[in-house]
């Protein structure tokens, strides 16, 4: 029982009443901020980061898990009721979910989404419990060359699998990498790109980048439509799905859990891709595919189960390799670093209590999400009825004071507002913040492992290809860069021939 003893010991910690309270608080706050239209999980977690900062590590991690799941579900609520998905992964939920809401079945849609999320999330945590230590064991042999390739691959995948233009995403990634170099040189201690400012000598804190680009940027952006009427949220009805609803969704939830878990492990748009694939799978599997788009409950149950399962399994690359798979994970990465936890292959072995603490808090986060969401949906719907003109200033104040409390430094406020303005402008011209934030997080790892590899290989770039794993990863990178434009031009040629 060697394997399970730390797992079970971890449960003892998580189920202490105090920690349960923090988890509950996290789920509530996550949902509260997550239902604000326009704020996706990444923005929600970013805004709430300072709240966890002043709490002791174990409780803070548990609270973070709560915020994480609460924020995910908050996006589902706006998706179903207002047709405003908080992020790409709940876009497909809006199709049938909002249709159900129009038919007066919003409650059933939200209820089945909560149940599906719970099952998908829990299945994924259980699978993660077994898979993560294996991956971490495999990654123990990774040297600087492997990490250089892995970090590059992670950044590239997020840039190419994102929704926007690949070139724009890559440009954003380079901006993130550049921002990460501000401050002292990790090896020589020389100050770099600080423009003579002492405040920048320690580099830019990740919290400020995340809160600025996601939090302040999104709020500034939402101000443009502040005076527009907010759509009235439809009435919800009973949130407890009927036996028929449950019967119809059983298959969708099972398939969604599987699809979500597997796709979530892959770096890039795990949750988004999985929700779309799950929707497609349900449509294929359905006896009445014509009901999709007209309020089919499977169209909500499948994708919602899948995106929560994927959100959970995307913790695997984060916790075992130290490579966040998407923007939300990048923010979780920063949050864990704030608590003094460095995700990576050594975490399971050297700090099993922390590792299993994080994993077990996900079980609890899932349970509490289910326990909280069903009875409290009514309250969250009321929040949706509050005008954006009132919500925006309250959120911005929490963000401003929150960023101050991290270091008690007013300079951070200026920096965050500045990055917020950048985030707003980026949104206006069609640049996505996701790749920037991810690259910023991975920047120092990428630089230090690149420099260490170069020393190891005596300055020969070809040295990377002498390492089998690093070489494989680099080939994958080359394929990602070369294949899409190639297939595009091939398709063009074929079309020309056909014409």
């Amino acid at each position: 029982m060697d394997f399970f003893s730390p797992v079970i010991a971890g449960f003892g910690v998580v189920f202490q009443p105090e920690n349960l309270f923090y988890c509950l608080l996290g789920v509530t706050l996550g949902m509260l901020v997550g239902v604000l239209p326009g704020l996706g999980p990444a923005a929600t977690i970013a805004i709430l980061l300072p709240v966890t900062y002043n709490i002791e590590p174990t409780a803070a991690i548990i609270m973070l898990a709560g915020i994480f799941y609460g924020a995910q579900y908050g996006g589902t609520i706006t998706s179903v009721l207002l047709r405003l998905p908080g992020e790409a992964s709940s876009v497909v939920t809006a199709i049938d979910g909002h249709e159900m809401a129009r038919q007066g079945r919003a409650g059933s849609a939200l209820g089945i989404a909560a149940i599906g999320s719970f099952i998908g999330g829990t299945v994924a945590v259980i699978a993660l419990t077994f898979v993560a230590p294996l991956v971490a064991g495999f990654a123990l042999d990774f040297g600087p060359a492997e990490y250089t390739a892995l970090a590059l691959l992670g950044i590239l995948l997020v840039s190419t699998l994102g929704t926007g233009s690949t070139t724009k995403s890559i440009l954003m990634a380079t901006v993130g990498l550049l921002l990460a170099t501000i401050g002292q040189d990790p090896l020589a201690g020389t100050s770099r790109l600080t423009f003579g400012s002492d405040q920048l000598l320690d580099g830019i804190d990740f919290v400020i980048v995340a809160m600025g680009l996601f939090g302040v940027g999104e709020i500034l952006y939402s101000l443009e439509s502040l005076r527009g009427k907010s759509a009235p949220a439809p009435s919800v009805g009973s949130v407890y799905p009927s036996r028929q609803d449950l019967g119809e969704s059983k298959g969708a939830i099972t398939r969604g859990s599987l699809v979500g878990f597997i796709l979530g492990i892959l770096p890039g748009g795990g949750a988004t891709m999985s929700s779309m694939v799950a929707y497609a799978v349900e449509k294929k599997a359905a006896k009445h595919p014509e009901r999709f788009g007209k309020g089919a409950i499977q169209g909500v149950a499948g994708p919602e189960t899948a995106n929560n399962a994927a959100a959970t399994s995307s913790f695997i690359p984060l916790l075992t390799l130290g490579i966040p798979a998407n923007a939300t994970m990048a923010i979780m990465f920063g949050a864990l670093l704030l608590q003094g936890i460095t995700p990576g292959p050594l975490l399971v072995q050297e700090k099993p209590d922390l590792f299993w603490g994080v994993v077990n808090s996900m079980y609890v986060g899932n349970i509490l999400l289910l326990a909280m969401s069903l009875p409290l949906i009514g309250i969250f719907v009321k929040i949706l009825r509050i005008r954006a003109a009132i919500l925006a200033p309250l959120t911005i104040l929490i963000t401003m004071i929150g960023v101050y409390t991290v270091r008690m430094n007013v300079f951070d406020m200026f920096l965050m507002v500045g990055l917020g303005i950048v985030g707003y402008l980026m949104k206006k011209v069609g640049f996505e913040p996701g790749p920037l934030v991810l690259a910023f997080v991975l920047g120092s790892l990428l630089e230090s492992s690149f420099r260490r590899s170069m020393r190891l290989f005596d300055g020969q770039l070809t040295g990377f290809f002498g390492q089998p794993i690093a070489a494989t990863l680099l080939v994958a990178i080359l394929l990602i860069i070369v294949v899409p434009p190639l297939s595009r031009s091939l398709r063009k040629q074929r079309r020309k021939v056909a014409a």
Partner: protein, 170 residues
């Protein structure tokens, strides 16, 4: 806020929704949006170079930022050349003035925050955003502004013991 899945059959309101720009406008906007990172990349590239690049086997502090700057300049240059409209651009309308006012007010908030305590700037910011930007009624504005400031005070100063700069002695 953007409705990602637009309602079918319901005419979309003009105000509150992003206005799609004309192709010429989008192209100009795209060029400017790419030229800014291009310029930044050139500047940081020069700064990195002067830090000392070293050699590949013994990199200096400037090598990595230089490499990143070069990558940034190259991608930005590609974007300048491919500046055709992508459908992701949005026009800067008069509504954008609200954002300017909001951003300036946040800078002002940060300026005053440590000098005169958080209470007055907080009330002032809320009044500006609620009444000025959001056009809420006066009653609502006063209640929310004073109420929120009181709650924040109780939460941070009294409750969490975080030392926010404040003037009210409790």
């Amino acid at each position: 806020m953007t409705s990602v899945v637009p309602e079918e059959g319901v005419p979309e309101e003009e105000d509150g929704l992003p206005v799609p720009p004309t192709p010429a406008y989008a192209r100009r906007q795209n060029i400017v949006a790419a030229l800014i990172p291009l310029a930044i990349g050139v500047i940081t590239g020069i700064m990195s170079w002067s830090l000392g690049v070293g050699t590949l086997s013994n990199p200096g502090p400037g090598l990595w930022p230089l490499a990143v700057s070069v990558a940034m300049v190259v991608t930005a240059a590609v974007l300048v050349l491919r500046s055709g409209p992508t459908g992701e651009e949005e026009t800067f309308t008069r509504e954008a003035l609200i954002v300017v006012v909001a951003a300036v007010s946040l800078v002002g908030y940060a300026l005053l925050f440590e000098r005169i305590g958080f209470e007055i700037p907080t009330v002032a910011l809320l009044v500006l955003w609620l009444k000025g930007l959001g056009r809420e009624g006066w009653r609502m504005t006063v209640i929310i502004s004073l109420g929120t400031t009181a709650v924040l005070y109780l939460l941070f100063v009294t409750g969490l013991g975080v030392s926010l700069p404040h003037i009210l002695p409790f």
